[in-house]
Every structure is written in C-alpha cells, then in structure tokens.
C-alpha cells in the first residue's frame, strides 16, 4: 500500500470512444463489451512502478456527454495527467479534439501532462483516422500520442505508464510543485521526508525547468 508518489489522472473525450473500457482494462485487466454509460464520474486506482518507485495512480473516468461538460471541468485543476481519447473508427471524435484540448488547457494547471489516445486500434478495417493524423495533431499541440485497444489491451498499460513517466520526469526537473496537492500529486507517507527534501532541492531549479513546456 505504501507508495512514493500518488498521481491523479482524468480520462476525457467524446462519449463512446472507450474511456471506461480503458480504465477497466488498466485496473482490472478485463474488457467488458457492453458497458454502462458513465454517469458523471467513476473512479479506479492501480499501483505501478517507475524507476524502481511505487507510484499510485488514481484515475477519474468522466462522462463525455455535453450535459456533463461543466462537471468534467471541475476535475482539470486537481489532475496531474489527462488521457484525451478519440475513437479511430469515428472521425468526428477526432474532430472534437480541439474543443477538448481548449477546455483542458483553460481549466487545468499549466503543467498537466496530456496523453492523446487513438482507441480501438483492433478495428483496423473500420479505421477512419490514420495513425499519422493522430501523430500530427499530437506534435502540433505538444502532446504524447499512442494508439490503444481497450479490447486487446494493446498499449493500454503503456498509455497510463508513459503518462506517469512524463509526470515523474517533470517532478525530477522541478517543474511541479509537489507540495501543492492541487497539482494532483501527493508524496507517499513512507517517503515524505526524503521526497520533501528532494522537492525542495528541485524547486530551486523550477523556474528554469518550467521553460520546457
């Protein structure tokens, strides 16, 4: 149960792109073809290891419908990472990315790591959005990109873990103020003194590191 860091994530994107399935695949390692519509926000958690350190991920799965947009906005501020998901078999979900990104950037803290995810990569025959298009969008907006399948579990671990790595690196660079819980990062109970000292040291270089994004 002890962890070095705790990161808060949110998963956003249009309804039906597979957000809930991604979370379920990541936390329970299973795929549920018929999934309830998420009402509001659901929660899941899992421990991962990065750089030999235990990291606890707390993930809030949001509802994509327009009606819940304003509720989703309340979660941006306190999240360290966001998975922005579209469905490679439905172009309109790709087209809506700009709106999602604007919303996220407007309401989150500027350091939030955003991972762009093109989900349902198992449905190659029904693909409407080329992988290159996803890559281009990610490059243009400074996001990390990955195609996943919540069904076959392809890249699902990687998506969550790479996001965590990115956050972890930012912590090392001193970009994140880890003593401010509003950033979606907590130092674990076991490492609180060691982590605190490190944070203090890194904090000094924070201004320089901040320039990277």
């Amino acid at each position: 149960m002890a962890y070095a860091y705790l990161f808060k994530y949110i998963i956003i994107g249009d309804t039906g792109v597979g957000k809930s399935c991604l979370l379920l695949q990541f936390t329970d390692k299973r795929f549920q073809p018929v999934h309830d519509l998420t009402i509001g926000v659901e929660f899941g958690a899992r421990m991962i290891t990065i750089d030999g350190k235990q990291i606890k991920l707390q993930i809030w799965d949001t509802a994509g419908q327009e009606a819940f947009r304003s509720i989703t906005r309340s979660y941006y501020r306190g999240a360290a990472g966001a998975l922005l998901v579209y469905d490679i078999t439905r172009r309109e979900t790709f087209n809506h990315l700009t709106t999602w990104l604007e919303d996220a950037r407007q309401h989150s803290n500027s350091n939030m790591v955003i991972m762009l995810i093109g989900n349902k990569s198992d449905l190659e025959s029904r693909r409407e959005v080329k992988k290159e298009e996803g890559e281009a969008f990610a490059r243009e907006h400074g996001l990390v990109f990955m195609e996943t399948s919540a069904k076959t579990a392809a890249n699902v671990e990687e998506a969550f873990i790479n996001t965590a790595k990115e956050i972890y690196e930012k912590i090392q660079e001193g970009v994140f103020d880890i003593n401010n819980e509003a950033n979606g990062i907590k130092i674990g109970p076991q490492h609180s003194t060691a982590g605190g000292a490190k944070a203090g040291g890194a904090g000094a270089g924070g201004a320089a590191g901040g320039g990277c994004c």
Binding site: K8, F43, A45, G78
Partner: protein, 831 residues
C-alpha cells in the same frame, strides 16, 4: 422602535418630534440612499442601517432592497465593511428560521426566506457574485459569504447545487476554505459543505476529488478523534454525505486507505469505564459507525462490500468493533449500532464470519460472543432495538455460510456431547417455545436462517429431538413446531413458525414427509387457507398457509401414503379451488409489512408490533410463488378410464387459445398504454404551464405582500398627520374601490363574453343559411341547364320534322297535289 430610531439618527437625521417614520418608509429612504448616494460612507452607513432593520422588517428590506444589495456586492467590492453589511443583510432576509423580532408579526409568511431565495437565484449570476466573494481574504466578508451560501442552500438545495455545479471552480473554491487557518471559517465551511453535498453525487465526487477526505481526517485527528467536539461530528457527517450511495467515492475511500485512518476513532481508552461516554462522544462514534455501515451496506455492489470487509478485517477494524461489544459501560444505542455494524462487516465473508464465531466474551464462565448476544435476543428485559440488532447480526453471521449454519444446527443434535453448556441452538429452542412472543419470533427466524439454501441442514434439523415432559417420549423439533403452530393464538408466533416451516420444507421432501405425519398438520393448513376472516393479518395467515400447503404438494415425494402429491392436489382442488388458492396466495405480498421487509435485509422497525415478516422469507416467496401456482394448476393426470385421445393436440389447442388470449390482452394493454402516455403527456405539459404561471404568481404575490405591508402603515400615518378627522379612510377607500372596480370589470367581461357567444351563434346560423342558399343555387342552375337541354332537343326535333314536312310537301307537289302553306307552323318554328 427605540432601538433602531436611535441607531438611524446618524443616517436620517433626528425625526421631528412626535413624528415616527414607519419601517417601510425608512427602508425606502435607506434603499434610496444606497442607490443614489455618491459618497461611499453614506452608502456604507445606509447598508449598516438596512442590516439593523432586516430582522424586524425583513419583508420590506427584501422586497425593496434585494436588487440594491446585489449591486453593492458588485460595485462596492473595494470596501469590505460595506460588502459585509450587504451580505449580512441578505443573510437575514434569506434566513431559513424565524427571528424573535418578527414572531408577533402576522404579515411575515413562514417561508419568507425561501421566497426571497427563489427570487435571488432567478439570476444565477448572483451566485457567482457570492462565489467570487469567497476569494476575499477579509475575515468578516468571507464568513458572511459562507453563511449566506449556507442559508441559500438550506432553502433551495437542489436549485443551488445545480447552479454551483456548472460554475467551473464553484465547488473547488469552497473546498479551499476548509484549509483556512481561522477555525471559525473552517467550521462554517464544514456546515456549508454538508448542505452542498447532500444527495448530489456529482458534487460529492468533486469534493472527494478535491482531497476532502485528507482534510477531514486531518481535522478529526487534530481535534482528538471521538473525544473531539462537535467539529468532529461535522467532519464525519460530511464524510457520510460523500459516501452514501456513491460507489465511485466508496472506491476512492477504500483505495485511498482511508479505512485505516478511521481506526483511531474506535480506540477505547483503558479508563473509559470511569470517565464514561460524553453525549458528544456518543454522537461522534455513532456517526463513525454509520460511515462503516455505508461502506459495507448490503445495497452496495458485491465487489465493493467484499473488498471493504477484507480491509476491515486486515487492519484490525473488526477487532476494534468487537472490543466495543465486549467493553462494559457502553451506552445502549452505541452497543446496538455496533452490533448492526459488526453484522454488516461480516455478512457473506467467510473469514470475518469465522472470526466473530470464535470471539470469546469475557464472561464467567467464558462463552462465545455469539452465545452472549443470543442470550440478549431472547431476553425480554433487553431493549427492543438491541434485540433486533442481535437478530440481524446473527443473520449476517449465517448468511451464505454453510459452516456457520452447520455449526448452529450441530449444537442441537443428540450427538452434541456437552449437555450442560449453553449453546446457540439451545437458546434458540428455548426462545422458540418461550412465553415471550418476540422471543418466539426472533428464534424462529434465526433458526430459519440456518436453513436458507442449505438442504443438508434442513435434513439434519429433522433429527433434532426435544424432551417435552419428564418420562414422555421425545418428539421431533418439526413435530413440536407444527403442534405449536396449531395451538398458539399469537399472530407473530404463528407467522414466524409458518415462515420457518416454509423454508425448512421447501426443496426438502424429507421435511415435507415429516410434516405430513404430524397429526392435524394438513387439516390445519386447509382450514386456515379456507378461513373467511377479513382483516389484513388474517389474509396474511391464509396466504402463508396456502403457501405451505403448496410446498407440501410441490416437494412431495409420495412417501406418505395418505398424502401423496395427487391426493393433496385433489384435496386442494375440492376443498379450496385453484382460483381461491391463487387469490389467497397473492395476499401475502400485498401485506404492508411484507413490502417493508422485502426492501432490506435488516429489519427496520421502530416498535415490536411492526415485527412480522423477514427479508429472507420474502426472497423465498418471490422465487416460489409462480412455481407453486403452476404446479397446482397443472392439469390433473387424466383419468385412465377416460378416452385418452391425442392429449398433445388437446394441449396444443389449449396453448393456442392461451396465446390468443394473451395476445388480445397484450393488444389491449398496449392501447391502454398509448392512451395513458398521451394523457400523461398532456398532463405534463399542462403541469409545466401551471408551474410556470404559479412561480410568476408567487413572485408577484411576495412583492404585493411586501408592498401592502409597506404601504398600509405609511398611508395611515400620513392621514393621521394631515387631517386627523378620518384616520385610515384613504386606505379604506382605496381598498373599497378596488373590489368595486373589479366587480365592474367582471361585469363588463361577462357582458362581452355573452356578446361574443351571441355573435358566434349568429355567425354560425348565417353561415348555415348561406350554405343552404348555395346548395339551392346549384340545384337551380342544374335545373336550368336541364331545361335548356330539353329545349335544344325539342328545337332539333322540330327542325327535323320541319324538314320532313317539307320533303313530304315536295313529294306531294311532285305527285301533283296542292299543298296549303301552314304559315303558323313556320312561324312557330322560328320563335
């Protein structure tokens, strides 16, 4: 009056001697001043005065001042003092409670605060104004803003929750205040958050996301856990709100290791017995127990329950709860709630059930805790809620656990060696046949739970023998229960025994055949089922008897010759009739207490009289009712002497007609549904219309009331001053003219209405006449046309004949005849 008169001198100047300005006038002048004065100090003083008046004259201040005060919040943000007065004034206006100052004022409606709240939130921007003020660090402003939001939420919880939810930082801002180092603000924020989170899952999730549990546990621990003051209780109430029916937050709570953090709440100091429990500690622990129960509530998903139960066991939570059970000096209601909680923490979890099965009570001689609890259950002198809690806990201990079910039955079997010691089984048997009706009920139901879905124990229990009298041969437990059922006159005992027998005999033909061998058993059930008494409880008894009778038929293995399946079925058909039987059976689920019991595994009753039906019995009934009805109404084995021609075709016909019937019924129902849906739609829109107009009228009403109460005194004051001859005449007059006018208008309206009706009628009549005319016209035209045609035909004919005549004439001439010219004919021809 003196109070604010002196307070207002600075603002209004001293009133002229002998002249008292009315409250409404004063309010009007103050509002004017806030609106129009360019000097900040002036506005501030006026706001202060308004605040002073807002308790006694809340209608006037509210009706005239809301908009102005709102403007102050917008425009005078720079001056904290003014803002503070405005906020306090608004808070007084909206206050959900009545002020002492207005107690004897009949003009103030009870829900005036709510009405003003409604008006205030018409513009959602007003809430944003208040949220913005939360950013203000000034102590008074922040505090007043928090308090005002709390009042608003109290008055209009749902509306304001929805408004705040769509403000991106709304909830977050309030959460930030929990970290305010000024305790007063922190504490007021707690109250605000309790109101804010009530029953709104989305807000609850955001509050949890914003680290509420961390903050709350920090506060709870800094205040000394259960020994802390009311702040601890407030924190726990907020946690409870966040978790209740919110699986997402429960998951978060569990994953965030917060269960462990609750543990110190249950630390029982060594010397607790001496210092005793303060009322606040009782409240705190009670809240804590509620939180625990929310996590493992049977209404949660199985996955959540099971993982919470495991954590609670692993971190020593269950031990801590058992310690409370065993400690002395624990107040009765805490004990009761702890027993309920222990029950839910172990329910369905074999490890935990096993754990409490092995807990020993520090009694002399040492006894299993379960036995000690059951002793309380069958003890008339124990408080009723405690006895109910023990039953629930015991049921949870047996739930889905063949082992604990088996070990209970084991204690009753002859092989059980230790005859002297008190066991669960012996306690329950004692309770079953005791003179205390509640003990009968609790014991029968407890025993029944040892048999749920456990065929093995149903059969084992048949082996239990009771020594009734010294010297007489022992009888079986089932036999004794059946005899008692026939003898007892107490409703609760009867129902309990029937429920026990139903569970025992369902799916267990050995138990059925044992029952059939008890003299009088079947006869009793038939008589009960046929009984014709009319009262809710009698119906229930009849239904339960029918149910047990049907169990005797359905699970019958024909091992008792006189009561084979067919024989019993014949008996039922002849003596009762299938239809009557079905009707009686359906009475069970119509009983009010059946429906109450079916809702939740825990018996939720307040008084002993409400004890009647058990949750597990309802489950059995739901599953078997349909099966038994089918089984009874199955066609009798055809008599072999009769001609058995094509039974299959017969069946087929039957099914076909059944299907046809059902089809017709379905159609009928669909039509009804359509009709109802349309009706519903119409009603809905009518309702919406009237809601809308109602809210309009309400607003108008509030304003009018305010104006009336504001104007009445001021006008009479004026008349008093100008000419003392007719005090209050003016108002009377104006009041009198109103009804007159209205009467006049009404008359006019009536006249106009009737005029319209008359004209409409006339119009209709003339239109009809016109139609007839037109029809006639068409007919006439047709007639004319016909005539013309006839004429043409005739003319043609004449011309024809003329020609012929001429021809003949020619012939005659050629034949040498003389022909007379018939002039007349020719002329006629030409006309």
């Amino acid at each position: 009056m003196d109070f604010f008169k002196s307070g207002l001198k600075t603002v209004l100047g001293a009133p002229e001697p002998g002249q008292l300005p009315s409250g409404a006038e004063t309010v009007e002048r103050l509002v004017d001043r806030v609106n129009n004065s360019t000097l900040l100090e002036d506005r501030r003083d006026a706001c202060r005065a308004l605040k002073a008046m807002s308790r006694k004259y809340r209608v006037e201040v509210g009706a005239q001042g809301i908009d102005t005060l709102k403007q102050v919040l917008e425009l005078d943000r720079a001056d904290n003092e003014t803002i503070n007065y405005a906020l306090d004034t608004l808070n007084n206006i909206m206050s959900p409670s009545q002020f002492e100052e207005e107690e004897d004022n009949p003009h103030v409606p009870m829900n005036i605060g709510e009405q003003f709240t409604e008006m205030f939130i018409k513009d959602p921007h007003n809430i944003q104004l208040l949220l913005d003020l939360l950013d203000e660090y000034d102590f008074r402003v922040r505090l007043s803003a928090v308090q005002l939001l709390t009042s608003l939420l109290t008055n209009r919880t749902k509306d304001i929750q929805e408004i705040i939810l769509v403000k991106p930082m709304g909830v977050s801002k309030m959460m930030d205040l929990l970290g305010d180092t000024r305790e007063v603000i922190r504490n007021e924020t707690l109250l605000l958050l309790i109101k804010l989170t009530k029953g709104n899952a989305n807000i609850q999730k955001i509050v949890a996301f914003e680290n509420a549990f961390d903050r709350l546990f920090e506060i709870v621990s800094s205040e000394g856990y259960s020994d802390g003051g009311i702040i601890v209780e407030d924190c726990l109430l907020l946690m409870l709100n966040l978790l209740k029916n919110n699986s997402s937050n429960i998951n978060f709570f569990k994953e965030g290791s917060y269960i462990q953090k609750m543990l110190p709440m249950f630390n029982t100091p060594e010397d607790l017995e001496d210092i005793g429990w303060s009322p606040q500690k009782v409240s705190n622990v009670h809240c804590m127990l509620q939180i625990v129960r929310t996590l493992v509530s049977p209404s949660n998903s199985a996955q959540i329950i099971s993982s919470c139960q495991k954590i609670m066991k692993n971190v020593g939570f269950l031990d801590a709860l058992c310690n409370i059970l065993m400690a002395s000096g624990v107040p009765a209601d805490i004990l009761t709630e702890t027993i309920n909680t222990v029950g839910e923490v172990v329910r369905g979890d074999i490890t935990n059930q096993d754990f409490i099965g092995n807990v020993m009570a520090p009694s002399n001689p040492p006894r299993p805790a379960i036995v000690v609890l059951l002793m309380s259950m069958v003890n008339e002198k124990q408080p009723f809620p405690l006895r109910c809690a023990v039953l629930y806990c015991f049921q949870c201990y047996l739930y889905h656990n063949e082992l604990s079910q088996t070990s209970l039955v084991q204690t009753l079997l002859p092989s059980s060696t230790d005859v002297s010691s008190l066991t669960s089984g012996r306690l329950l048997c004692g309770g079953l046949f005791s003179a205390d009706v509640l003990s009968n009920w609790f014991s029968a139901v407890a025993l029944m739970h040892a048999l749920v879905d456990n065929l093995g124990q149903k059969e084992q229990l048949l082996r239990v023998l009771l020594a009734t009298n010294v010297g007489s041969t022992p009888v079986s437990l089932l036999h004794q229960c059946t005899l008692l059922l026939q003898q007892t006159t107490k409703l609760q005992s009867k129902v309990a025994l029937l429920m026990l027998l139903c569970h025992w005999m369902s799916h267990c033909s050995a138990a059925v055949s044992a029952f059939l061998q008890v003299p009088g058993g079947i006869g009793y059930l038939v008589n009960q089922t046929c009984s014709n008494e009319h009262d809710e409880n009698e119906y229930l008894l009849q239904g339960l008897s029918a149910f047990l009778l049907a169990i005797c038929i359905h699970f019958n293995d024909d091992s008792v010759e006189s009561y084979t399946k067919d024989a019993l079925k014949q008996l039922l058909v002849k003596r009762i009739g299938v239809e009557t039987f079905t009707a009686k059976l359906s009475e069970v689920s119509k009983h009010e207490l059946y429906n109450k019991a079916a809702k939740h595994p825990q018996l939720r009753v307040k008084i002993p009289a409400e004890i009647l039906i058990d949750y597990e019995f309802c489950r059995l009934f739901k599953v078997l009712e349909g099966v038994l009805i089918n089984s009874i109404s199955e066609k009798q084995e055809p008599d072999p002497s009769e001609d058995r021609q094509s039974p299959a075709a017969d069946n087929l016909e039957q099914y076909k007609s059944l299907i046809r019937q059902q089809d017709a019924r379905l159609q009928e129902l669909m039509q009804q549904l359509d009709g109802l849906m349309q009706q519903n739609y119409a009603l809905q829109s009518a309702l919406n219309d009237s809601i809308a107009s109602n809210s309009l009228l309400k607003d108008e009403n509030t304003l009018l009331k305010a104006q009336v109460s504001a104007k009445l005194p001021s006008q009479s004051n004026q008349t008093n001053q100008s000419s003392q001859a007719t005090p209050g005449q003016q108002t009377q007059a104006s009041q009198a003219t109103n009804p007159d006018r209205i009467l006049e208008y009404e008359n006019k309206l009536q006249f106009l209405n009737s005029e319209v009706t008359r004209l409409t009628a006339e119009l209709k009549a003339s239109e009809e006449a016109k139609k007839i005319f037109e029809e006639d016209l068409v007919k006439l035209k047709q007639g004319q046309d016909d005539l013309k045609k006839d004429q043409d035909d005739l003319l043609e004919l004449l011309a024809d004949q003329d020609m012929k005549i001429n021809e003949y004439k020619m012939r005659l001439v050629s034949l040498g005849q003389t022909v007379e010219e018939t002039q007349a004919d020719t002329e006629l021809n030409l006309t």
